[in-house]
Symmetry: C2
DNA sequence: AGAGACAGAACGAACGTTCTATCTCCCCAG
DNA sequence: CTGGGGAGATAGAACGTTCGTTCTGTCTCT
């Protein structure tokens, strides 16, 4: 999911940190300015990394002033968390849409195929969650927690899909799929995406689909 | 390979950038101070990320002054490249040592087992190359090039091992193994290492060892 | 009138980097 | 054996830049 496509403002709740008291406005909703900031941040963070892009770059590319930025976000740390959470929300929405028109048995291969396509698309730079995690080593950091929550949800989704498809050992097979997904994301970002996509599809076929059904 | 253990000063060549002219001494060899700096950098970079640790932290923990640091490294960028290259050299040395006393057929399972152990060890924070790559998106960056070179070498090693072990399709199977390795590294760093180690071992067994021999 | 976005200056801190100056140790000429 | 001399390490101040953050205004809407 490397595409910007920020049309959804899903679940962009402010979720203020306990002690954080904004000296400014009470609580601005998802305004146009806020969306522009989050979009620019998403694009820049994903393409160039998080610690390397400063708020100057973000506000400039968003066409927003610093004052506006700090009206909508307590600080950069909070923006990063929102960046992760918004990407998470986007993927959950996609998954929900896919599940609405496909059976669990059909959905898994589609998921893998879509992953392979994305890896080969332009601007692909690996999994945003994995990349972000590399920059936030502390597991207790809010950003790391948001990443962990996304991964937990995703694994849960895969387990559910495998269960409903009647695949034996759904939990162990979900672990395997996560392994393959993560490896593919990394390998495609660092090497030959097309080759990785082929390897991934083959591995999934042999390990999951081929294990009980062919 | 998360352990510090910097006893080897392998291949710590200066390799000055073309235009870089040090206004200081001609070319100091691998001195004690340089080693201490590189060791501290290795420990900090791996544990906390690269962009987050400044030279202040490094020189402080190395017990070295800034002047000494800049006598041995043209700048931080060069230190980061040395950090990657030294880790690469350490792994190559380990591989060479392993190959000296094991046959290719024996070596591969040992490699996987050792990987599983390392993942579960204390202080494990994922693959240093994958983590560093997340912070250096530009493929032309010297750091990214060093990472790519290490990965190329490692894949070559795996291909050679598979060939000499008589495994069919060594190239495709090497891609698969890389996929699994990368996935395991990421998964162990972000989730349950022991579970990932189990998944990895099982996947390798089913995909490589089990494909022609059991 | 009042809230939100705009413009832009300014803050202190940290960044990577350079400088001056003193000290220590080893090598080699005397 | 002695005693410079030079290279490397030390200490610490200081450079300019950039960082994240805050402030003072003005403008534009409803």
């Amino acid at each position: 999911m490397p595409a910007p496509a920020p049309q959804v403002g899903v679940a962009a709740r402010a979720c203020s940190t306990v002690g954080g008291v904004s000296t400014y406005a009470p609580a601005p909703a998802a305004s146009a300015a806020r969306t522009r900031v989050l979009d620019a941040a998403t694009r820049l963070f994903y393409a160039e990394g998080i610690h390397t892009v400063g708020v100057d770059r973000i506000v400039t590319e968003a066409g927003v002033t610093r004052a506006t930025f700090y009206r909508h976000f307590p600080g950069k740390e909070d923006l990063v968390r929102s960046y992760v959470q918004e990407w998470d929300a986007r993927i959950r929405a996609e998954a929900a849409a896919g599940l609405a028109e496909l059976t669990p048995r059909e959905f898994l291969p589609v998921l893998v195929a879509r992953l392979g396509q994305e890896m080969c698309g332009p601007g692909f730079r690996g999994c945003p969650f994995i990349n972000a995690a590399a920059e936030y080593p502390d597991p207790q950091d809010p950003v790391a927690l948001a990443i962990a929550e996304h991964r937990r949800w995703f694994r849960g989704l895969v387990v559910r899909l495998l269960e409903e498809a009647g695949v034996p050992e759904p939990s162990a097979r979900a672990d395997l799929l996560m392994l393959l997904r993560d490896g593919a994301m990394v390998g495609a970002a660092l090497g030959d995406p097309a080759g990785v996509a082929r390897s991934l599809e083959r591995a999934v076929r042999e390990l999951v689909s081929g294990a009980d059904r062919t």
